[in-house]
């Protein structure tokens, strides 16, 4: 950085000001020298209002376009295992991937609080670029707004993704059928526990790494092995409980889960014990739930386990042959059965 001319409008404190969202020189300098330079190190394209793609090139890869968006608002912005930038890329890549889409491009909208340190923004943008490169998906268009101090919490990023789906993939949250087997690619609640601890207000001293990861490659490997995957979803907010209850409801089926099969890391279990929380409801950012026909279960498990992001993959339950549609039942180690209900409200520690 030394020797380089400072970015317009950045003062001695090294912070973003409202000028960086004002549509003028400071904004252009920030966009060109931070965003464009990081996302497109090979050279600056003219800054059009839109990115453009040849439709013919898409058709070679599939018959449907997938389109998805997510906003990212995590506090703290940087945490063990990731940061908001990595999250923003992975989250949208994953929403594409779990629908069977091959990610083609991302857009990124930044809402920045006046006063954010430029170096912090650079780190986050660099992390986005790295993750996008890992997912082989370019960030092709974007937007920057700066709001007055106190009008946003540091930085929010909204990413939108487009992807192309192969004609033979037919994945839907409504696709689960009785007898199907349910798999997950690894441990529950790492992201939720990591953020809870990183925030610091509960004064818990432990470094839990978020599981934040792009799942496109794992999803592709799974679909390679089992193109007939019926349903797939990443288990983010609301945790595994959220995904399974939605799946049961949308597919009008009853789901059974084997508690003993659920992978949970010991520190995450520890945090849950201390705060009276349930890892079933904690957020993940690198976990997908897949539903396959029983005859494909072994192939699916094998394909997931062969992937670095699926080494702890497990069969965690199945779609019941009968049972009240829309219900999820957890069978515990004692043979007890309890309902898993949709999460409600914030997950508040149960203490006193």
């Amino acid at each position: 950085m030394s020797g380089e001319e400072p970015i317009s409008g950045i003062g001695p404190g090294g912070r973003i000001t409202l000028a960086h969202g004002g549509g003028g020189t400071a904004m252009r300098d920030l966009i060109e020298r931070v965003f464009v330079a990081t996302f497109h190190p090979e050279g600056t394209p003219p800054l059009e209002d839109q990115a453009r793609f040849d439709l013919a090139a898409f058709a070679a890869h599939g018959d449907r376009l997938a389109f998805t968006t997510d906003g990212f608002v995590v506090e703290p912005l940087e945490f063990p295992g990731g940061d908001i930038g990595k999250l923003a890329v992975c989250g949208t890549v994953n929403d594409l991937a779990v629908g069977g889409a091959r990610p083609v491009a991302l857009s990124a909208g930044f809402i920045i609080e006046e006063g954010l340190e430029l170096e912090r923004l650079r780190r986050i943008v660099t992390s986005m670029a790295m993750e996008a490169a890992r997912a082989q998906v370019p960030i092709v268009t974007g937007d920057t707004k700066v709001v007055p101090r106190g009008a946003c919490d540091g930085l929010f990023i909204t990413t939108t993704g487009i992807g192309v789906i192969r004609p033979d993939y037919q994945i839907s949250i409504a696709g689960a059928r009785p007898g199907d087997v349910i798999l997950i690619n690894g441990s529950l609640g790492d992201h939720g526990a990591a953020i809870l601890c990183a925030r610091g207000d509960l004064a818990l001293d432990v470094t839990i790494k978020s599981d934040c990861a792009p799942l496109h490659d794992l999803a592709a490997a799974l679909l390679q092995a089992v193109p007939q995957v019926r349903a797939m979803r990443d288990a983010t907010r609301g945790g595994l409980a959220g995904v399974l209850t939605e799946l049961a409801e949308a597919s009008r089926v009853a789901i059974g889960v084997d508690e003993a099969a659920l992978p949970v890391r010991s520190e995450v279990a520890g945090v849950c014990e201390i705060l009276g929380l349930d890892p079933l409801y904690l957020a993940n950012e690198g976990k997908l739930v897949a539903v396959v026909a029983p005859e494909h279960a072994e192939a699916a498990l094998e394909a997931m386990r062969a992937h670095p992001l699926g080494v702890d993959a497990a069969i965690i339950g199945k779609v019941a042959a009968e049972g009240r549609p829309g219900t999820v039942t957890l069978i515990n180690r004692f043979g007890g059965r309890r309902a898993v209900t949709m999460p409600s409200g914030e997950q508040l520690p149960r203490i006193c």
């Binding site: 520190e267 201390i274 049972g323 069978i331 006193c352």
Partner: protein, 104 residues
Amino acid sequence: MCLGIPGRISAILDEANSLVEVDVAGVKRSVDAVCVAEVDVPLSDLIGTWVLIHVGFAMSRIDEAEALETLRILAEIGELDGELAAMRDSQEARNSHEAMEIQG
């Protein structure tokens, strides 16, 4: 009510204010140890002690001998009973996902 959790005292943070660090499955937190401290015994004697923690306070020392005794009693329950093995089998069957069907 009264969520409590066992933890091991892993360090002394502030002798004067009887603040110690406890370790719960690798998660550490500062807790007040005044209820488990003994008069005229330095806090450092507590290191390694298991305590029951409630809302940031160590409220009781965990008595390891009593814990073992409880487990011993548990282990003995029904040992005289021949039905045990059969029950175990049925339990294992219930736990495997092959058998997981839900009644509405």
